[in-house]
């Protein structure tokens, strides 16, 4: 079973993660494992250092590790839960190739995904579930509209793209240099107008996450300047960035975004900032009810966040954002969500833009990047492209850049 959120041991090395769950006697042979790992990696074109610690990897890289580990352990039935959300298109092609090969060898593969192109391209049979019941089984050839109708009970199409009026530059990034233990970014420049949406594209682990976290103030850059609304913010702590209206929504919702054990209401209280010493519970519950309704969260004010589904957790995270915001930074805002939720979340985000908030987001979904961004930055191994105009860029061009061609 490959889980959507990787089940691994972040404080341990990759090679140790491979060994866990493997019967290898008292003294495991690490050298052999590293060798096997390298062979498997070369098959997929993954590039993980066996001696690296798992907590230094991104969610996508951890998924890669899980896939490798399961294949190495010789699983017979492979269940994959949304495996393609964190890996690049070329890696996906390789993964599908392997899955097909494995299937032809008699292995059973159950592939859970909300991406229609994935299931259409890969599966011999598709079973559609809606609200806990099996609503249909489809055999090829597949018709996308047919599948969408089965999934939602109606046909859905993306909203028309609307062009907003921009105002003065709100965020200025000049010559930004970032040193992470694996990625180096040198001299990135970007000026974001208020109300503008910037999409960051690239293979997982190409530096876009470091760039986003630097804009949030979570990583201190080694060079360059960050200026927000004319105020120099370089080197200031994260909470100072928050103070001037920067908000960061992390991809790992349960690890960095929400606090398991606390209720939805308590999350809203925490994000609101203090008024007085004692909490006005009654008022908090009222506010919480309003937000639950307006953000369409399926839960009660007292519901603990860990009891919410992924999509509702994402809605709760967005509902926690303060108003007004100058800069909203999102990591994979719609990863793991169905089309309907994604469209809904973006409609909320676009509302923010109308209130002059800048949005910078990372997504592995090129359609999403092209559709919702005004301009796009492509990252490849720490290199940053010139901002591309989203209206005049195609998926192909984007794909080339992501693959490192044209830098």
């Amino acid at each position: 079973m490959l889980h959507q959120d990787p089940l691994d041991f972040p404080p341990m090395k990759i090679v140790d993660n491979m060994l866990i769950g493997h019967d290898g006697g008292l003294f495991p042979n690490k050298g052999e494992v590293s060798k096997a790992l390298k062979e498997l990696q070369s098959q997929f074109g993954f590039n993980l250092d066996p001696e690296a610690y798992v907590d230094s990897l991104t969610v996508g890289e951890r998924q890669q590790l899980e896939i490798l580990r399961l294949l190495w352990l010789g699983a017979r039935v492979l269940i994959l839960d949304e495996p393609t959300t964190g890996i690049s298109a070329s890696q996906k092609a390789k993964l599908f190739e392997t899955l097909k090969k494995l299937a032809s060898q008699g292995m059973v593969i159950i592939f859970v995904s909300h991406k229609l192109e994935d299931v259409e391209g890969l599966c011999h049979k598709i079973a559609v579930f809606r609200q806990g019941s099996l609503v249909g089984e489809v055999a090829p050839p597949y018709e996308t509209d047919n599948l969408v109708e089965l999934m939602f009970g109606k046909v859905i199409s993306l909203d028309e793209k609307t062009q907003l009026e921009f105002c003065e530059p709100a965020v200025e990034v000049a010559g930004l240099s970032i040193d992470d233990n694996r990625i180096q970014i040198r001299g990135a420049d970007l000026i974001i107008n208020c109300g503008e949406v910037i999409g960051l594209a690239g293979m997982e682990g190409s530096g876009q996450r470091q760039f986003l976290r630097t804009l949030a103030g979570l990583i201190r850059p080694v060079g360059g300047e960050i200026v927000l609304n004319g105020k120099r913010m370089t080197g200031k702590p994260y909470h100072a960035f928050q103070g001037v209206g920067v908000s960061y929504v992390p991809a790992s919702r349960m690890e960095e975004g929400l606090i398991p054990g606390l209720s939805i209401t308590e999350h809203f209280i925490l994000s609101e900032g203090q008024s007085g010493f004692f909490i006005d519970r009654e008022k908090a519950v009222t506010v919480s009810r309003e937000r639950i309704t307006s953000f369409n969260i399926k839960g009660e004010p007292v519901t603990r966040v860990e009891a919410l589904s992924g999509g509702n957790q994402q809605r709760a995270l967005l509902a926690m954002l303060r108003t007004p915001l100058r800069l909203l930074l999102l990591e994979h805002p719609t990863r793991g969500l169905d089309i309907e939720s994604s469209i809904w979340i973006w409609s909320k985000l676009k509302d923010r833009c109308k209130q002059k908030t800048c949005i910078v987001f990372i997504s592995a979904d090129l359609e999403e990047v092209l559709h919702y961004s005004d301009r796009i930055l492509v990252f490849y191994n720490g290199k940053v492209s010139q901002p591309l105009d989203a209206t005049s860029t195609t998926v192909d061009q984007l794909g080339q850049l992501i693959g490192g061609k044209g830098f």
Binding site: H239, E255, E256, F277
Partner: protein, 349 residues
């Protein structure tokens, strides 16, 4: 079919845990060839059999309650403040220090006692802040830091008793020279307990209950304890909140130490903390960190401690029996909680 999520179901399991602990202790006594029923009777009579006994239980209850009170805050922040023993000890040392400095001065005894309390609070906070600084800025786990500082605190006590603060002539394990009666916290006529320390204990737990239940500070503390990384991203200065938890817990531990000096022993003795810090950790775990239960459960533990004092005299049993009962109680409650969760959990996740 039983409703598996009802409070009654949960309560039933806790009763089962108490019964389990009693059976376990009985077995131990049978193994030691001691009469279990007689031992339990002695514990009950020895703790709540007379007004004097109840007063003795209260004397033990207050420092235990103060320690538990402080620990509720550090546990809320996700911190294992093992170092609370040392914090109680430092509180006692600082109180003794203040009293020794001021006992011959012209200040009124009441004022000296108040200063003694404040010094105790200061001592506890100082010691707790060391653990906190090591944890937050030094990356030393608070369990190791606290444990180390506990040893230092014990060594410091011994050194003071046998060194600079020794009794005239030769220092002895019975501690420093007792303070004058005027520097004792006023006691209830004919009993060992004091209304003042009782008041301090009850006000303390009430304040912490309110902090955890209804304030921004308490909620943020819980957020830090449950998921520090998310709390930081949301905008809570996690280091500051952990440090505050240490400071307040240290203050309560220091108060406990001050009570031990001002209301119980009236001098510094080698094991001035009486193990109330560790016992407080057990109480906090037993009540699942719910402030509402701190007072009654701490009272029960204090009663076991006092009640078992007679055991060695009457039955030639060691008074450590109460420790066996307390320890097994915590283990059984935690275990039954696990069993209950297993029974109520949905079959497949």
């Amino acid at each position: 079919m039983l409703n598996k999520t009802s409070p009654g179901f949960k309560f039933g399991f806790q009763i089962l845990a108490v019964v389990g602990a009693l059976i376990f202790t009985t077995l131990i006594m049978l193994l030691a060839k001691a009469p279990p029923l007689e031992a339990f009777r002695l514990i009950v009579v020895g703790s709540v059999g007379s007004v004097g006994k109840i007063s003795d239980v209260i004397v033990a209850w207050i420092p235990l309650l103060l320690a538990t009170t402080g620990l509720l805050l550090t546990f809320a922040a996700g911190l294992w403040n093992i170092g609370i023993e040392g914090q109680i000890t430092l509180g006692a040392i600082f109180t003794t220090w203040a009293l020794r400095l001021l006992q011959d001065s012209s200040l009124s005894p009441g004022l000296i006692i108040i200063i003694g309390f404040m010094a105790g609070v200061l001592g506890g906070m100082l010691w707790a802040s060391l653990t906190g600084l090591l944890k937050i800025y030094g990356g030393v786990n608070e369990i190791f830091g606290g444990l180390g500082l506990n040893f230092v605190a014990t060594a410091l006590t011994i050194w003071l008793i046998f060194g600079p603060w020794k009794r005239p002539g030769v220092g002895s394990m019975s501690g420093t020279v007792p303070f004058d009666n005027s520097l004792w916290l006023p006691q209830v006529e004919g009993l060992r307990m004091s209304w003042w320390s009782l008041g301090i204990g009850l006000i303390g737990i009430a304040i912490v209950y309110l902090i955890l239940q209804g304030t921004y500070f308490g909620l943020r503390l819980k957020a830090v304890g449950k998921n520090g990384r998310a709390a930081f991203v949301i905008g809570i200065p996690t280091g500051k909140y952990m440090m505050s938890a240490f400071f307040i817990c240290g203050a309560f531990a220091g108060l406990a130490g001050a009570v031990q000096v001002l209301a119980v022993y009236h001098r510094l003795i080698p094991s001035i903390s009486s193990g109330y810090g560790f016992l407080g950790l057990m109480v906090a775990m037993l009540i699942n960190y719910q402030a509402l239960w701190a007072a009654p459960v701490a009272f029960f533990f204090a009663a076991l401690n006092i009640g078992s004092i007679q055991l060695p005299i009457v039955l030639k049993l060691d008074s450590a029996l109460s420790g066996v009962l307390q320890g097994s109680l915590v283990l059984f409650v935690l275990m039954m909680d696990g069993v209950r969760r297993r029974l109520t959990a949905k079959k497949v996740k």
